[in-house]
Symmetry: C2
Subunit: 555 residues, 2 copies
């Protein structure tokens, strides 16, 4: 089969004004970025139409290192829905540029189920990530400058929480010392850079309801503590509005098209571990304004992505999915069934059978939220028919709808059955009203415990002394009502990345707490979270190049 | 009078496709970025039409801290030319975002002589600066990663020349130590950030003739020296093409319009001290393809900006101005006449008279290049009529054409006389063929001496031992034929920023040499060059804000 970028290049794109027009958006209202990308003003969101739209969440079983193919299924499902005559709109995250030059490919779907133009989406796109990088680093510069300019008045910071960001995989910047050299270079300080999707600004952009809310949240960002141990916010610098100015255009969602010319909003890309990992609320609501069926996804497996999608995003945005599509692959099931990674491409019926426990646990978890679950089997060319049949039978026995997705190889035609089953299931048995895992007014520790016990299967949650202190501080600072965002490995239900399948009755330890008081969430960290990836010995940059003016080597 | 941003907001902009159409560019060929900005593909440059176009260079006397108003004159002249029926196109630099949040305002002209939309031009614009930042820092990450991944094979760098960049005024990043913490964070190293316009990538973008040339130059960037003291280039990393991919769109010039709906290309913004300080060759040639009269400017005073424009840009691009417009103000002349800065707004006939020596020296210098010089007097509301008359008489006595510019207050109507005189002068007495200050094949030190003696008025040039060693190295590395780019204070002819007026017979000392082997120029540094500005105690960020969704406080 052809490479993703070859398929992308062969696709015939329609002008973005035509895509907008088919959705009913007047072309005078959009801001084009080249011929095939446009920003759509957030004010076009119509809450009444949002209310009536059918939101479909695509999530997955616990993923392998190569992923389960959620984006490809999401794109495929939207293509399938369009083929059976439905007004379907996609809402997806924007990919980060940095990793495209490292190990992994882009994040714009795959095969014949892609969003296009994939090279621009994967690289600078409409500059949203650059605007976030600039806004984040402008705050850092203004903060350091404030300290430098006010030191003679006795002002100083006991602790600075704010870090800089860059959308490049640069391990050397994880831990740095700044302000060296002569006095005019500022005050020496330990600091570091995260990758841009890990910025709190990214999370804020994805959760803000409008420009005013964005500015309010920026002002509330906690930057650190003064020498008197008082919290110091962006509002104390007096620059919240100036920073919002930098994000004014970035806040509007980006409209692109799929390989089959159906509409897709691609907007916001927060990390799925230390942030909530889904596209912006504005993009989802925009898609729901113009689509009868809106397909969206959440990062990593359902324990992380779907939980945060429901407990954070849906809670804030007052939306809820009519259906959750849980994606599984034979490779994933085998890994959870104890098959070694190097053998998961080979038939192993028993492994698949054992791996179904992971699938079941995710189904069961999603049902706790009141979700109707449909299992989508994401097909690979070398999959064994008998093994697929086994998964289908297993789902049938549990009365869980099951469908194949073959959009990677066949485009929308490979997802028509899936689309029909999705529509039928939503009509006959839509999700119940959303049941969140915890109430706003619970204690922060109780919120973390609710997720750890009810979703992960932990029997006990412990908190480090540091985490405990910070939770107390968060409550003192008025952050009690914030949802929690648990950062843990995506490779298992616990904090042990090697605990494939299902683990039960384990001890879950929260090592650290981060107060995202602008994003209005409490990040609880279990394990070590890398916020700035590195590059491999042979980075993808070696293969990215221009051939006759066209970009090659992006995947 | 109204603020710049108020005037900008009140202007009625035409769709950029209409602006393109009036120039004869088919709207299908442009890439819109919003309704009022577009990128124009570089391949539309037509060398035959470039040959026939009348290029006008706008430069200035030695500037005050507030500048002399070159950009306002440049915009005004193009408005005036359009008013008298000429096809006039502007070619200007892109402003840097960082300084807009610090002390100075934007750089998109002023009053009724602006390029629009000024808020977008001053902030993210089409993302060119962001693309350059990313390309620059991607090289840094790939280099550090190469060292980290190959250290067990005995590879290491004796000296790393490459620094990171950011388009934010952040003094704390001037001097940093990276790679701290555990081994996986890379190798500890001294390093630092410059502001983005100081990146060699910016200079390369402005000097490249096309995408192929861009890639060739990126591959030639000298990153440092290995432990064996061998030069190490981007080509040794094998990523020149991947970096060019990041700059593919940034290389195309940006089309916008003026306050009177005439076309302007705004593209590239290299520092005017450690780089050559003018917009891209591609933008100038694009403007010359579509304009009978093309107005462009060069940074700082004529000793720096015009010298580099002629000796570097014109040398490389094989273009030459038909006329050079030298901008002067009463305030500038008074400063050079020994009037203290706080008094330069008040009448002081004698001061003006003494200050004319600075004007004369610049005229004389420009004539050495074979340029016909026209003095443009940039008018301020409180200027004294008698003093203006004195300058006019002085120019007349020397047979130098003289005209007023009042476009700041009156728009194009205030520059019609200037425009008529420009056209008349070009028709009657265009510049002679360009005479460069030095030949390609001269020694590097001889090139520096030629500029220092013939333009600055130095009697003697000395080189530090370090500079001498680096010049030798540059010659060994095959850089002998590169032009030199002298970095010195913009406030005087010498390296002493307080030496107003004219200085003669001084000793000029070159402290350091930077080999820009990708940009193909040798930077010779006299004095201390700040490559990363800081923020003031009360930064402009305090005043930038959103009012009813519109940006306020940018100037």
């Amino acid at each position: 089969m052809k490479q993703d970028i070859e398929i992308a290049r062969e696709a015939t794109l329609k002008p973005i004004s035509v895509i907008a027009a088919t959705m009913g958006i007047n072309q005078d209202l959009i801001e084009p970025y080249g011929k095939f990308i446009a920003k759509v003003p957030g004010k076009l969101i119509d809450e009444e139409r949002v209310e009536k739209s059918n939101l479909i969440l695509v999530t997955a079983i616990t993923p392998t290192k190569a992923g389960i193919g959620k984006t490809t299924v999401s794109v495929g499902l939207s293509l399938g829905l369009a083929r059976i005559g439905k007004r379907a709109v996609l809402a997806l995250r924007e990919p980060s540029l940095g990793p495209c030059f490292g190990q992994k490919g882009g994040a714009a779907g795959g095969g014949y189920a892609q969003v296009l133009p994939m090279d621009r989406i994967n690289l600078h796109f409409t500059g949203d990530f650059h605007a976030i990088t600039t806004a984040n680093n402008m705050i850092a510069a203004l903060l350091d400058n404030y300290i430098y300019q006010h030191q003679t008045e006795g002002f100083g910071m006991k602790q600075i929480l704010w870090r800089r960001v860059m959308d490049v995989n640069d391990r050397s910047l994880r831990h740095i010392v700044t302000g060296l050299g002569p006095h005019v270079n500022g005050c020496p300080q330990e600091s570091g850079f995260d990758i841009t999707p890990a910025s709190e600004i990214m999370a804020i952009l994805c959760l803000a309801s409008d420009l005013e809310d964005l500015e309010r949240r920026i002002n509330h960002i906690l930057l650190g503590y003064t020498l008197e141990d008082k919290p110091f916010y962006v509002s104390d610098l007096g620059v919240g509005s100036a920073i919002a100015v930098l994000l004014k255009d970035a806040l509007n969602p980006n409209l692109v098209q799929t390989t089959e010319n159906t509409p897709a909003f691609i907007h916001g890309g927060p990390f799925a571990n230390i942030a909530h990992g889904c596209n912006s609320i504005i993009a989802t609501k925009m898609a729901m304004t113009y689509g009868d069926y809106v397909v969206t996804e959440a990062g990593f497996g359902a324990d992380l992505g779907a939980e945060k999608f429901l407990d954070i995003k849906c809670r804030k945005a007052h939306i809820q999915p009519k259906l959750t599509v849980l994606v599984a692959t034979l490779r994933g099931l085998k890994m959870h069934g104890g098959v070694e990674e190097r053998a998961i491409r080979l038939p192993h019926t028993e492994g698949v059978c054992r791996g179904l426990r992971n699938l079941d646990k995710h189904i069961h978890n999603l049902q706790k939220f009141g979700q109707t679950v449909l299992v989508c089997f994401n097909q690979y060319a070398d999959d064994d028919a008998q093994e697929i049949e086994m998964v289908r039978r297993h789902c049938k026995e549990q009365d869980v709808p099951f469908a194949l997705n073959n959009a990677f190889a066949q485009g929308g035609a490979g997802a028509e059955d899936l689309a029909r089953l999705v529509v039928e299931t939503i009509e006959q048995k839509p999700s119940k009203p959303l049941q969140l895992m915890y109430a706003d007014e619970s204690h922060i520790s109780a919120k973390i415990e609710a997720v750890a016990r009810r979703i992960y299967g932990a029997s006990h949650v412990t908190f480090s002394a540091d985490a405990q202190r910070k939770m107390e501080r968060a409550e003192q600072l008025g952050c009690r009502t914030f949802p929690v965002c648990i950062a843990k490995t995506q490779y298992s239900f616990s904090q042990d990345p090697k605990a494939y399948g299902v683990t039960d009755g384990f001890d879950f330890e929260i090592r650290d707490i981060v107060i995202n008081s602008g994003a209005e969430m409490i990040v609880a960290i279990a394990g070590n979270m890398i916020r700035m990836p590195g590059l491999p010995k042979s980075p993808q940059a070696l293969h990215i190049r221009l051939v006759d003016g066209e970009i090659d080597g992006l995947s």
